[in-house]
């Protein structure tokens, strides 16, 4: 049967499919069966609810910022409040949402299943990570209620030492410390699981690319996050005890803080994007019904990104005061990280070439990702170029750059992954048409929000300002309109998913025609993941799979 015989539409409902009566969702019940669960799938779902709520909170702050900037002066927030709002927006989005989003929520759910094991190596530690995350959330909410965190998400000294709002800084930095350990333990758990628990037949190069990406991410989490931990710990000691290590008044060096901070936070941007790239590799292959192009290159480039990412942190500090040679070296090294990213983009496009593309919600999000991430990545290059960055540093150009990679990249991939694995996680199919509409609105809204910001940045609009020159007002208004559109798109996406929980039809085992192991176990999966031992084969060989109208999904060829 040639690929063309397979239907291009998403599966229609069918009868006679084998739906599990007993699965991890109804395995046990009651509040404690969730709160104390050691099942990676339930922990994953709890994370999912948690990170999406944080995203909603951070999103509110984002809209507050955009609405404030509608007029060039006299916005509805006071300047002080404005500072607090953008700080909380950034800190919540980075530390509570985007870093745990894919690894801790989707990764937790999928990693053991894709690998063919019952659970992660340390289930208790896994639950512990989740509660550390909750603790971090509580500390952030404390900082929020003390009202006053106004340092920006980067906590640069001497702002963070001098600001009047010491309590909020302490609560937030301690929150970051705790969240850091949550992230470290998740990464540690994943590395150990992949290294020691692969079942027979699951060789390194039979691992789905999502696992390679998660593995590379975990390496960064384990190697970079401790440095953030000690940095924020020293910062709290600075606030509490006036130790002076980062305080110029006591002969300390604030630039050292920036070095420590970016030594974590640059690699952290790869903690954000690598798992997203992993998702896209899966989505591209499955929805094009064609083996992934250049499997090994994608796998190796994940690891390359993880390693190169440690060498370029200085590009955030070109204007902070470093030796000339150092800035030149950092600038040159910055260009190297774009190579592995570009390799991936080429491979995804290569996968689509002559594939049988199913245009459905996950695929639309994946396509949006490729478009947006490419723009985000390419605009990183001018920023990495020393001479240009001297002018563009701390302008809206940087803001637009990182939103293209973080939101256009990671968030869009997260949504794509969420739609893709939703049937597996919940056992329900969502309304694909409305899902596609949400993807379209998000795409349009996103570009409307952030394309104007590139222009603003190149014209000299500095970031983090509560007021601006009148000549920028039109572009700012365009951006605000875009952000509202984007918000509507995300709301539609959420409604589609919620609707499916109540009215969606039951999902078949393999709705999209994937060949990785999670599509072998039922939707939703049983408590221990596999009723019978799955045979581990090539994760991207679709020849043995065909569409079965009776099941409404794909089945193994007889």
């Amino acid at each position: 049967m040639s690929v063309a015989d397979r239907p291009i539409v998403s599966p229609a409902s069918g009868e006679g499919a084998a739906y599990p009566e007993h699965h991890f969702l109804n395995h046990t019940s009651g509040f404690l069966s969730w709160a104390l669960t050691l099942d990676h799938k339930r922990i994953g779902l709890m994370y999912l609810v948690g990170v999406m709520s944080s995203f909603a909170l951070g999103g509110m702050f984002a809209l507050m910022i955009r609405l404030h900037l509608w007029n060039f002066k006299d916005g509805w927030l006071s300047n002080q409040t404005y500072n607090q709002v953008f700080t909380l927006h950034g800190a919540i989005m980075v530390f509570l949402f985007i870093i745990p989003s894919i690894p801790a929520a989707l990764g937790n759910f999928l990693l053991p299943i894709m690998l063919g094991t019952k659970d992660v190596a340390f289930p208790r530690l896994n639950l512990g990570s989740f509660y550390l995350w909750v603790t971090g959330l509580v500390l952030f909410l404390t900082a929020l209620s003390i009202t006053g965190l106004d340092t920006g998400w980067t906590f640069y000294t001497p702002y963070s030492i001098e600001t009047q709002k010491g309590g909020a800084v302490l609560a937030a930095t301690f929150g970051v410390f705790v969240l850091g350990f949550s992230s470290i333990f998740t990464g540690l758990n994943f590395i150990v699981t992949i290294n020691t628990m692969r079942p027979p037949g699951m060789t390194w190069f039979r691992m789905p690319l999502f696992l390679w990406a998660t593995y590379a991410t975990s390496i960064i989490q384990v190697l970079a996050t401790p440095v953030l931990g000690i940095t924020v710990l020293l910062l709290s000691a600075e606030r509490l005890l006036g130790i002076g290590i980062f305080d110029p008044k006591l002969n300390g060096d604030p630039v050292t803080f920036q070095h420590f901070f970016w030594f974590y936070s640059h690699p952290a941007v790869y903690i954000m994007i690598l798992p997203a790239m992993g998702i896209i590799s899966e989505l591209m292959s499955v929805h094009c019904h064609k083996g992934i192009f250049g499997y090994r290159m994608i796998a190796y480039s994940s690891v390359a990104i993880a390693l190169f990412g440690f060498l370029v942190w200085g590009h955030h500090m070109f204007t902070s005061g470093m030796a000339d040679v150092t800035t030149i070296v950092f600038s040159a090294l910055t260009f190297t990280v774009s190579i592995p990213s570009a390799i991936k983009v080429f491979n995804w496009l290569g996968t689509m070439y002559q594939g049988t593309v199913s245009l459905n919600t996950p695929m639309l999000y994946a396509l949006a990702f490729i478009f947006l991430f490419t723009i985000g990545g390419l605009t990183g290059l001018p920023l990495g170029a020393l001479a240009l960055d001297m002018h563009m540093h701390d302008t809206y150009f940087v803001v637009a750059h990182f939103h293209y990679v973080m939101m256009g990249g990671t968030l869009v991939a997260f949504l794509g992954g969420l739609f893709h694995w939703w049937p597996k996680m919940t056992g329900k199919m969502f309304n694909d048409n409305v899902g596609m509409i949400s993807a379209a609105i998000v795409f349009v809204g996103f570009n409307l929000t952030f394309l104007p910001q590139f222009v603003l940045g190149t014209r000299g609009m500095p970031r983090r300002y509560a007021t601006y020159l009148e000549e920028f007002q039109d572009l700012h208004r365009l951006s605000t309109i875009g952000s509202l559109t984007l918000g509507i798109g995300l709301l539609v996406a959420l409604l589609v998913l919620l609707h499916s929980l109540f009215y969606g039809r039951r999902a078949p085992t393999n709705p999209w025609g994937g060949a990785t192991l999670e599509w072998v176990c039922s939707s939703p999966p049983p408590h221990d993941n596999f009723a019978t031992a799955p045979t581990v084969g090539d994760p991207y060989d679709f020849n043995g799979i065909e569409y079965d109208a009776k099941q409404g999904g794909y089945v193994k060829k007889a």
């Binding site: 020691t196 401790p226 005890l241 130790i243 002076g244 408590h527 031992a533």
Partner: protein
């Protein structure tokens, strides 16, 4: 039988069904070896994160020492290297007992295992006892971190603030509880409780032993220096190496001219030549923004290290409970082994801290 062959549907509660799974083998592992390997790799990765965690402070140390070497030379004389050396010895010994404990666990020598873990716990407590003396002594002198640093005035009298007493309150309470627990265990004649309570009580005693030892040595040092100081005053041209072991008591000398020594830009040779002048540190070093920074680094590094010692004591206590229940054997000794690895790392970091902080001159 591999993990995935077991069916989930029949399992109401995962563990009941794995008849081939002994209690010590978690249900998601296939066999003892896999469980051991996972635990071990996990611990090694954790140690990597620990090293990186400390590396931030080591970085700060080298940056600031490189920038202001004279500050580090001046300040390290306030650290009592005798106490540092004793603590180094104590920790090294505890590494030995910990390694021995691993062996005992493998060989099912349950009593010996409890003993060795107890010895390790005792050493840790003693370390903290000595540390308490060091810290409190510095606080009495006003050697606080950063902006709380009090410039040292030679010959000034230092009041008793009772810092040592307050540091001892929590250990005292814990020791009393351990004592009560021990009496209870004797009364009930429970071998298990005795095996748990005994080592904890001993550890409590070790803490106070450490405190006592520290006080004796600290007092010795002070009187020794006071005497030396008197002698020194009468012979202004005292020899170079004589001044090497000067410490807290008298190093803030009679001002022999307050000229600023800007050593930062000088080569090492220059520094050596000038070390004669160094023993008379001037006002530029003896202040919050200079010496204060050193003590910030000192307290951060040794403080975070001490927190790791306390963490280690908690897990060792957990091991003692398990050991008293005779849980370990040749197939299952991973926890002892992994805690051992952690403990060696904590030692190892101290091995770096000691020379870097105490032995600068």
């Amino acid at each position: 039988m591999t993990a995935i062959q077991e069916t989930a549907h029949e399992s109401e509660h995962a563990q009941d069904h794995h008849h081939d799974h002994p209690a010590w083998l978690a249900h998601h592992f296939d066999d003892a070896e896999q469980q051991f390997d996972a635990g071990k790799l996990g611990m090694w990765l954790f140690l990597v994160t620990e090293v990186l965690f400390f590396s931030g402070m080591f970085c700060a140390y080298s940056l600031y020492r490189n920038r202001d070497p004279q500050v580090f030379e001046f300040c390290s004389r306030f650290l009592n290297e005798k106490l540092g050396a004793i603590n180094t010895g104590v920790l090294l010994f505890s590494s030995l007992t910990m390694a021995w404990a691993v062996r005992a666990a493998q060989l099912k020598q349950h009593k010996l295992l409890v003993g060795m873990l107890g010895a390790t716990l005792g050493c840790a407590a003693m370390f903290l006892g000595v540390k308490a003396v060091e810290y409190s002594h510095k606080w009495e002198l006003g050697l606080f971190p950063g902006k709380f640093y009090v410039s040292q005035i030679p010959g000034a009298a230092h009041g008793e603030h009772g810092y040592l007493g307050s540091l001892c309150i929590v250990p005292l309470i814990l020791t009393i509880i351990a004592g009560v627990y021990y009496i209870y265990s004797l009364a009930t004649m429970s071998k298990f409780h005795q095996q748990v309570a005994g080592p904890i009580l001993v550890a409590g005693a070790c803490f106070f032993g450490g405190v006592q030892l520290g006080r004796i040595l600290e007092a010795e040092e002070t009187t020794h220096h006071a005497a030396e100081h008197a002698a020194h005053e009468h012979s202004p041209g005292a020899s170079h190496d004589h001044s090497q072991d000067h410490s807290a008591g008298e190093l803030l000398p009679e001002k022999e001219g307050g000229e600023v020594i800007a050593l930062g830009h000088k080569s090492i040779e220059d520094v050596k030549v000038m070390s004669e002048e160094l023993k008379t540190p001037d006002a530029s070093v003896n202040q919050k923004s200079m010496a204060g920074l050193f003590f910030s680094i000192y307290y951060c590094m040794t403080g975070v290290h001490a927190v790791h010692i306390i963490g280690g004591m908690l897990v060792i206590t957990w091991l003692i409970v398990k050991a008293a229940r005779e849980e370990f054997h040749d197939q299952y000794f991973g926890p002892v082994d992994n805690v051992g690895l952690y403990w060696h790392l904590v030692d190892f970091i101290w091995i770096y801290l000691f020379p870097l902080l105490y032995l600068i001159t």
